[in-house]
Subunit: 307 residues, 2 copies
C-alpha cells in the first residue's frame, strides 16, 4: 500500500569524529523515503529550491519514489549544519538556513489522495494537522516532532496528536512532552493525548513501543527492539528518520496490523537506522537490497532471541 511522507529535503554540512562533509543531500523526508522505499510504494511531499537539480531527484526516482509532491520554489533549499563530538547521540547545530522551507505549506497532489499510510516527519504541528485533515482515507498516520515544537507550540502539537495513530520520538522528547521523568509513566501520559501507540527511540539501545489499552486490539504490553552495537557510527544524521521509514514502510507493506507486525516493524526501524549511520548522508540507503536488510533483521533478532 502507498505511504505518503511529508517533511524536509535539505543540504547538510556535517562534522563527526569520522570526518566532515559539505552540502550532502539530507532532510527528514529524504532519509525516511529512501528507507521506506525497500518495503512499499512511497510518495513524498516536500519543498525544494533552485539548487535541487535533477541529479537529486534521480536519487528518489531510482528508488521508485513518487516525486510529484515535491514543490519547487524560487530560492535555496533548506540548509543545516551540525557537529557531533564524542556523544554521537546529539548534534550541536552550527547553522540553520530555512530558505524555501520557511514558507513550506504541504500540497498533496491529487494522485496521492488514495494513499493509506501517512508519515508526518518533523515539521510545524499545525502543518502536520492540516495534511492529516486533507487525507481522510488514511488507515494509519505516523508522526514525529522535536523539543523545539514541544516547547514553543505545545497547544498546536497537542491538537495534532489527537489525529495521530503512532508517534515516534526519543526518550528526552517523551519526558519533555509528558513533563514526567519516568519513561513508562511519561509514555502513558503521551498516549492519553491521542496516539494509539508511542515508539520511543533510545539511540544505540534500540526502541520501545508502548500501546494504549486495547490499541489495535492487542493489549498494552510494551515491546522493545534492540539495535546492533556498531563498530563505527560515521554520521548519526537521519537515523531517526530512517527508523521511521523502516517502521512505516514495513507496516504499509502488510495486510494485517497486529502485534507481531508492529513488533517486526520496530525491528525494521532499527535495521534501517543502523544502515543510515554507516556513511555520511543517506548514501547507504540508496543501494541496499532487501536481502541485505533481511540479513541484518536476522542478526538483530538473534541479538536478543532466547530459544
Amino acid at each position: 500500500m502507498s505511504l505518503v511522507i511529508v517533511g524536509s529535503v535539505a543540504f547538510d554540512d556535517i562534522t563527526s569524529p569520522s570526518g566532515s562533509v559539505k552540502g550532502v543531500y539530507g532532510g527528514a523526508a529524504t532519509y525516511c523515503s529512501l528507507a521506506a522505499s525497500y518495503f512499499t510504494d512511497v510518495r513524498v511531499v516536500a519543498v525544494v529550491g533552485d539548487d535541487f537539480t535533477s541529479e537529486y531527484e534521480a536519487i528518489f526516482k531510482k528508488r521508485g519514489i513518487d516525486t510529484r509532491g515535491i514543490e519547487r520554489s524560487a530560492g535555496k533549499t533548506f540548509r543545516w549544519g551540525g557537529t557531533y563530538t564524542d556523544n554521537l547521540a546529539e548534534a550541536k547545530t552550527d547553522f540553520t538556513e530555512l530558505n524555501v522551507f520557511e514558507k513550506f505549506s504541504p500540497q498533496m497532489p491529487k494522485a496521492y489522495e488514495d494513499s493509506q499510510y501517512l508519515f508526518l516527519a518533523n515539521i510545524q504541528p499545525t502543518l502536520q494537522a492540516n495534511v492529516r485533515h486533507n487525507m481522510n482515507g488514511v488507515r494509519l498516520t505516523g508522526c514525529d516532532t522535536m523539543n523545539y515544537w514541544i516547547q514553543r507550540t505545545r497547544p498546536e502539537l497537542v491538537e495534532t496528536l489527537k489525529l495521530v495513530d503512532v508517534l515516534l520520538i526519543n526518550d528526552t522528547e517523551t519526558k519533555m512532552l509528558a513533563n514526567e521523568k519516568n519513561l513508562p509513566r511519561a509514555a502513558q501520559k503521551v498516549l492519553a493525548m491521542g496516539p494509539q501507540a508511542l515508539v520511543v527511540k533510545h539511540g544505540e539501545y534500540g526502541a520501545t513501543i508502548f500501546f494504549r489499552e486495547g490499541a489495535f486490539g492487542i493489549g498494552r504490553h510494551p515491546f522493545r527492539a534492540p539495535t546492533l552495537p556498531l563498530d563505527e557510527v560515521k554520521d548519526p544524521t537521519g537515523a531517526g528518520d530512517s527508523f521511521a521509514g523502516g517502521f512505516m514502510g514495513y507496516l504499509a507493506s502488510q495486510q494485517e496490523l497486529n502485534r507481531e507486525v508492529l513488533k517486526r516493524a520496530l525491528f525494521y526501524g532499527g535495521v534501517m537506522g543502523s544502515f543510515a549511520v554507516e556513511r555520511f548522508g543517506p548514501e547507504r540507503l540508496q543501494h541496499l537490497t532487501r536481502e541485505e536488510i533481511d540479513a541484518r533483521f536476522q542478526i538483530f533478532r538473534e541479538l536478543t532471541h532466547l530459544e
Copy 2:
C-alpha cells in the same frame, strides 16, 4: 554448585525522588548474595563491625547463605550516603565512611575452598587478585570494578583482569577502561586484557554480553538482554550488584556453560536488578519466590521475542 561472593557489607543513607532512608542494610555483597541465593548455594566473604547485629546476619541465613566468611572487626561497618535526583542512573555520594572496610583483607574459610564459582564484587583490584590466586579450583570467576579503581589503580586492575573470566561493568566504565568512545570497539579492547566475556550494563536499557573469539566455544556474536521499563524506580542502589548475583547465580546452577546458558544468565541478571530497585535497600530481594522470578523472566523474554 557453590558460588563465593567477596565484597562489601554496608549501611546506607539513601535519598531518591521516592523518599529517604537512613542506615538501611546494603553493600555489594549483600545485594549480590541475596540475588544469587535464589539460584544456587551462596557463600559470602565480607567484613563487618560491632553494629552488625544478629538481625542482619539472619537476613543472610534466612536465604540459606553461608556467613562463615563474614569477619567481625572492632569498629563500625562501612557506611555510605547517596542521593539520586532525576537521573536515577547516577548517585551523588553524600559521604563515605570506610570504617572496618578500610582494612578489609578477604579471608577465605577452609570450608569455601571447594567452591566452583567466584564473584569478586567491587573492591581494590589487588585484593581481588589475591582472592583469585587462593581459589585455584574455581571453574569461573566474575568480577566488578568501578571508575575509582580504573583511574587510580589501573596497573593493578590490568593484572586482576588477567585472572577473570567475566567482567561486569557499565558503559561509562567500559569506555574509560578501554580509553575508547565506541562501545563495541571498547569491548574488544577490554576483552584483550584477559576476560573471556564482558557484560556491559546499560541501566534501564538492559545489558550486552561481548565474547572473545572462541570464548566458551561459542563464537563472538554479542547478545543483549532488555530490562522491563518500570513504572517506579524507588532506589537504584544495588541494581548492578543484584544483576551480578542473578547472572552468576544462574551460571552456577547450570551444568553446561554454553551460549544459551550465558544468554539466560544475562536475562536473569536483568530480572534481579529490576526487583532490587522496586524498594529501598535489598528488601525486595529477601522475600521473592523462584516462581515470581521466572514469571518476570518470561515478561522480559516476551519484551523482545519475535515469533
